[in-house]
């Protein structure tokens, strides 16, 4: 039987982070993961992450996965893939199926970091081929390079639904609509806005009436729900689709904790059945820890810190780190975690309705209902200002823990301050050079460079563009509004790509100046 100081189940953000911290202290660590690729869901995340620099902000998920994996390997962590943990047995014995063999291993500590599984909803036709989980769509397109479908309806406007909708479009699918039974968009407004401006309609208070098709999905009907979640007659809308994507939340995948004998609780604040853990992630079974989504659904950035805390705590427990050192380091991590757990989307805010930002600004209702901020509403946010020359317009209207834009601007045009969830504001004294670093750095794709008046009756708008084929300079097309509606003709006057932008191309388009604060996306092809 093999023996380790720490056995980690799950090579996702929590598991790898814990492995790094434990191995740094000299612990012998193994990480088992049932997938062929490590990184958990990180490897399917191709958007730039939120947070602060130390939380890997503005780095794409899969790249964070690569970084964590490289760091863990350098520290001598054994990462075993295609390794299915069969069970955790008494005395911290783990049995693992690796290839065609079963191996037994004992750990002085065990970390369970098995992540989450997707929730599902039922409707007539939900078992038809073509109805898939949002995670399945991500797996197909981002891991295997296969299109999940051609025309897709997304159910769910949480971050998963929003992010995957955008990814579907990046992969080349048409997203016909997003629907959500809830009356408000559940995910980050900036994620919604980047989908909406591509022309995808949002149907809030709508759910799927039925999926149609004999052997596979050929269409879907959605309908508006009343206060009792019943479909309002006559509100049905039909779409021809070949794929219905379900993104209706995640649940902790905690069976292994239960099997290991950990005390469990069904905690709605943690989105499901979770092990009871202390502040270090230790369960009721001494030496068995849980971190990441398995102990409560949160963002990957929180999972990484929870993993780090568990790794450090285990090092203290096994005498690889003094209690004093361990406590100091854990306090640092806790502070960072505290930072991430602030703002409108913090775990403690689940289910609460927010009417204004921390700054006291009424939040955009249009954003919550339709996925985009209206032309009138956007003016009241501190990132949106007007000046004669080129200047950043930051359509960031919700308090989320994220601040890369502040660091991105070398001329200090953008201010967030020390409170990471504050809305960015423009410093009127600082001079914008139009470098575009802020546009590329904004994980929410919410920053635009605008020259409101070029002097010839036109305005120039620089926007983030992550689609193929990339429009060429001189190309004429259509400018789309925040809602994704064609508003005017537009000409591409510049396309900038740079390694530092990390695949976020900066597209500059020229529009009539009255559309300077209205046009927010460029569509190739026939001008209106």
């Amino acid at each position: 039987m093999k023996h380790y100081d720490m056995i980690i189940v799950g090579a996702g953000p929590a598991g790898l982070s814990a492995a790094i911290e434990a191995a740094k202290r000299g612990m012998k660590v193994v990480v088992y993961d049932e997938n062929a690729k490590p990184g958990g869901q990180l490897f399917k995340q191709i958007h730039k992450f939120f947070g602060s620099r130390e939380h890997y902000a503005k780095i794409r998920g899969f790249q964070i996965g690569e970084k964590l994996l490289a760091e863990a390997s350098e520290l001598g962590v054994e990462v075993v893939l295609d390794a299915i943990v069969i069970g955790i047995f008494p005395e911290k014995e783990v049995t693992v199926k690796i290839g065609e063999h079963v191996t037994h291993a004992k750990g002085d500590t065990i970390l369970i970091a098995t992540g989450a599984s997707e929730n599902m909803v039922t409707f007539p036709g939900w078992t038809l081929p073509g109805v898939i989980g949002a995670g399945a769509a991500q797996t197909m397109m981002n891991l295997h390079g296969v299109l999940p479908g051609h025309r897709v309806l997304m159910l769910g406007t949480g971050n998963v639904g929003l992010v995957v909708s955008f990814q579907l479009m990046q992969a080349g699918c048409e997203v016909v609509a997003l629907a959500d039974a809830a009356p408000r968009v559940g995910g980050y407004g900036v994620h919604a806005s980047k989908v909406a401006r591509c022309g995808v309609p949002f149907y809030l208070s709508h759910t799927i009436v039925s999926a149609e098709g004999e052997d596979h999905v050929t269409g879907v009907t959605i309908g508006q729900v009343d206060a009792n979640w019943q479909i309002i007659e006559g509100s049905e809308k039909h779409f021809d689709v070949d794929t219905i994507c379900l993104a209706v939340g995640l649940s902790p995948m905690s069976k292994l904790c239960d099997m290991a004998g950990c005390d469990m609780e069904d905690n709605p604040a943690k989105a499901g059945f979770v092990p009871v853990v202390d502040e270090y992630g230790e369960t009721s079974v001494s030496g068995i820890y849980a971190a990441g989504d398995v102990s409560g659904i949160e963002e990957a950035s929180s999972a990484m810190i929870e993993g780090r805390i568990a790794g450090i705590a285990a090092a203290v427990k096994l005498g690889y780190l003094s209690e004093a050192e361990g406590t100091a380091e854990i306090e640092k991590q806790k502070a960072a975690l505290g930072g991430l757990r602030q703002g409108m989307f913090a775990p403690g805010m689940r289910g609460k309705q927010i009417t204004e930002t921390e700054e006291g600004i009424a939040i955009s209702q249009n954003l919550l209902q339709y996925g985009f901020v209206s032309d009138e509403e956007v003016e009241r946010f501190p990132g949106v200002t007007h000046s004669s020359g080129i200047h950043p317009v930051m359509e960031c209207t919700q308090n989320i823990p994220c601040n890369p834009c502040q660091d991105a601007c070398k001329n200090h045009c953008i201010k967030i301050g020390s409170h990471i969830t504050s809305l960015p504001s423009v410093d009127p004294e600082a001079k914008c050079t139009g470098c575009g670093m802020c546009v590329a750095a904004c994980s929410g794709q919410a920053i635009f460079l605008v020259r409101e008046d070029c002097g010839d009756g036109t305005a120039e708008i620089t926007l983030p563009y992550e689609f193929l084929p990339l429009p060429q300079k001189g190309e004429k097309g259509t400018a789309l509004s925040r809602k994704g509606e064609a508003v005017c003709e537009a000409e591409v006057v510049g396309v900038r790509t740079a390694k530092v932008f990390d695949h976020t191309n900066l597209l500059t388009m020229k529009v009539p100046k009255e559309y300077a604060m209205k046009a927010r996306f460029f569509r190739k092809g026939e001008p209106v």
């Binding site: 049932e34 299915i84 069970g87 065609e100 039922t122 239960d258 499901g272």
Partner: protein
Amino acid sequence: MNDRNRELKPFVEAPDDDMIICRCEEITKGEIRRAVHDGMFTLTEIRRYLRTGMGLCQGQTCTKLVKSIVARELGVKPNALGSATGRAPMRPIEMQILAKDKGE
């Protein structure tokens, strides 16, 4: 103390009773609702009586769905129902692979 004689609202057939809930074992919402009225008040009892969550996937998809149906039928919150026990193996394993295992 869980009194199995407590009054439930009378069973009324619903239009979506034929909706498949457990995809593996093809158990419908109506079957689950009826089982509750037949005294199956816990998720474990439902599972033993109907096989929900006992198919190939071992409840990966339906656990939460079953829970909400049972809770609604009993008039309790879903989180009051607890959960069915996690058991090895976490994923299906062929006998011939297990057979090679000598505990090493």
